[in-house]
């Protein structure tokens, strides 16, 4: 029988997330999805799920969950924390088996911002527009489009792939979390809307993540950037990773729940290989931006996926899911 997870005590912002909702940005619908896609994908593959399965995402402090109805195989990934099963510490990035009645307490993360509970079989809340990702402002995904509350029950899908207890992702293969953070970014598209010295300041200065940050974006405090002309442009498309600069001159780094269009000049875009780290920025963290070319960005993503795949003993094709829109799943090798 399939298990379920009961929320005994929620964290401040627990939501169900998968790799996002794609194909609706032309209608103004954000992609949403895990802020740290790499920890979601790695956790899913650890427990034998397709990379696109839905998991629980927690922010800074996680929930207390009780297993009901049947055994649940799961792995805690993302920001480093000290999870406890019935009060005893258990390792992160490792497949655990919890019996009905056992509780999992995530606690507070020591570094980074977002933790994931990836369960074998995935969290099977209903799909809306082909995704289970919660988008709170749009009132969709997860449980009725909201963050989790005490007493909520998360249905878990069939564990058909057969999760192996104790399977682990060694530290050298995990996303490397280190504050101060360095995020690689491609210049533009509106770098010419800024004074040239402001563009070099953006790529050399250090910014702090403001407390006024959420899944839509991180507000950054630091060197004030100056526009060459207007601080407003005719609205155009933006994506997670876009760094837009409103009239205040302080940049905003857009994340998973960001709007689809924006009217502020965009100085740079964080590359896909580093977007997981953007999702781990916590208020107060220091962050720097390092300029790379489009070609270097593609190589960086290929290297990162290759490293994850080696760590998991899988072919690269298996985790070609950072495409944020394709559902590629190949049987694990061996």
């Amino acid at each position: 029988m399939s298990g379920r997870l009961r929320v005994l005590r929620p964290g401040p912002h627990d939501t169900v997330q998968d790799l996002g909702r794609h194909g609706y940005r032309a209608y103004g619908m954000p992609s949403s999805g895990a802020a740290d896609w790499a920890s979601l994908v790695a956790g899913n593959l650890l427990v034998g799920n397709p990379p696109t399965a839905a998991a629980l995402e927690s922010t800074l402090v996680g929930p207390v969950l009780r297993v009901e109805g049947g055994e649940v195989f799961l792995a805690v990934t993302g920001a480093p924390c000290t999870p406890r099963v019935d009060g005893s510490p258990v390792p992160c990035w490792t497949v655990l088996c919890l019996r009905p009645g056992q509780t999992l307490k995530l606690g507070r993360c020591h570094l980074g911002c977002r933790m994931y509970v990836c369960v074998a079989g995935g969290i099977e809340t209903p799909e809306v527009m082909e995704s289970r990702s919660t988008y709170v402002p749009g009132e969709i995904g997860g449980l009725d489009g909201r963050k989790l509350a005490e007493g909520d029950c998360l249905p878990v899908g069939m564990n058909s792939q057969g999760a192996r207890v104790g399977r682990t992702l060694r530290p050298e293969f995990r996303p490397q979390m280190k504050e101060p953070w360095t995020l690689r970014a491609v210049r533009g598209p509106d770098d010419d809307a800024f004074l040239p010295e402001s563009v070099s300041q953006f790529f050399s200065g250090t910014y702090r993540v403001s407390p006024a940050s959420d899944r839509m974006g991180c507000r950054l405090e630091g060197p004030v950037l100056r526009h060459a002309g207007d601080a407003e442009i005719v609205s155009e498309g933006v994506i997670p990773g876009t760094v837009q600069v409103p009239g205040s001159g302080l940049p905003i780094l857009l994340l998973s729940d960001c709007q689809t269009t924006g009217g502020y000049p965009r100085i740079a875009t964080v590359i896909r290989a580093d977007m997981w780290a953007a999702g781990q920025l916590r208020p107060g963290d220091a962050v720097r931006f390092c300029e790379v070319s489009v070609e270097q960005a593609v190589q960086a993503e290929r290297r990162m996926l290759g490293r994850l795949a080696r760590g998991l003993g899988l072919g690269l094709s298996v985790i070609r899911t950072a495409d944020w829109g394709f559902r590629v799943w190949v049987e694990p090798q061996g």
């Binding site: 005719v234 994506i239 875009t269």
Partner: protein, 242 residues
């Protein structure tokens, strides 16, 4: 203007077709987006048409950025990208002023027009839906009569009720969800423009033509009830290409 290409990182290419807000430029934008959607480019995730550009989102590990750009250039040169498609004309009932449009008086003081003149001018035009954005299902439509041009509110509202019909600059929009907002609210429609669990979650799409029909508060309540029970029939006319 010749197409201008700019990168948003390695997985999105911005294709700009003109400057400013212009129905002709926007028509080319929508035709290019439709042609790209139909082109079968491997790894293309989605296209986002806006006023003057198309954002092409793709998987750079499936089609490399350089190859993607060449594929877009190839589509731009096709003659059918110049072909004019049909469109839909949609009539939205709107209750103006009072509790439905709390900024109507403010619009009057900005424009020097009487409330019924504002209503007549807003409801007296057919608008083009240039693009969607800001919120799921939020349509940016225009152009307003120059006499209705007003600035944004100096202090945005924390909560604008869904259905609110608002104006700013030469644009008019409909709040699809309760949300913060800085446009001036002149009325409200009882017809939902965002229904996430419906087969068609979004009422409006880029390229639609939009007309507003003034209704009384009583008619608003009646239509609201009809929408709830699924009995309301929206006026939609399909217009074929010329």
């Amino acid at each position: 203007m010749k197409a201008e290409f700019r990168w948003l990182g390695e997985g999105a290419l911005l294709v700009r077709l003109g400057e400013g807000i212009d129905p002709e430029v926007n028509a080319r934008v929508r035709r290019l987006a439709a042609a790209l959607d139909a082109a079968g480019i491997p790894g293309l995730v989605e296209t986002v048409p806006t006023y003057r550009s198309v954002l092409v989102i793709f998987d750079p590990l499936i089609t490399a950025p350089g190859a993607l750009r060449e594929a877009v250039e190839e589509v731009l040169e096709r003659p059918d990208v110049g072909h004019s498609p049909g469109y839909r004309e949609i009539v939205l009932p709107v209750a103006y002023g009072g509790e439905f449009g709390p900024d109507l008086e403010l619009v009057c003081s900005h424009t020097g027009l009487a409330p019924d003149e504002v209503v007549a001018k807003h409801a007296g035009r057919v608008y083009l839906v240039y693009m969607l954005g800001f919120l799921p299902g939020f349509a940016y439509a225009g152009d307003l009569s120059p006499e209705l041009e007003v600035p944004r509110l100096p202090q945005p509202r924390v909560r604008v009720p869904r259905g609110s019909v608002a104006i700013a600059g030469r644009q008019t929009g409909i709040y699809s969800l309760d949300s913060p907002g800085g446009w001036m609210l002149i009325g409200r429609t009882p017809v939902p423009t965002y229904r996430p669990r419906a087969a068609e979650p979004f009422l409006l799409r880029p390229g639609d033509r939009l007309r507003f029909l003034p209704i009384s508060p009583e008619q608003y309540r009646k239509i609201e009830a009809q929408v709830r029970t699924g009995q309301y029939r929206l006026q939609v006319k399909e217009v074929s290409p010329e």
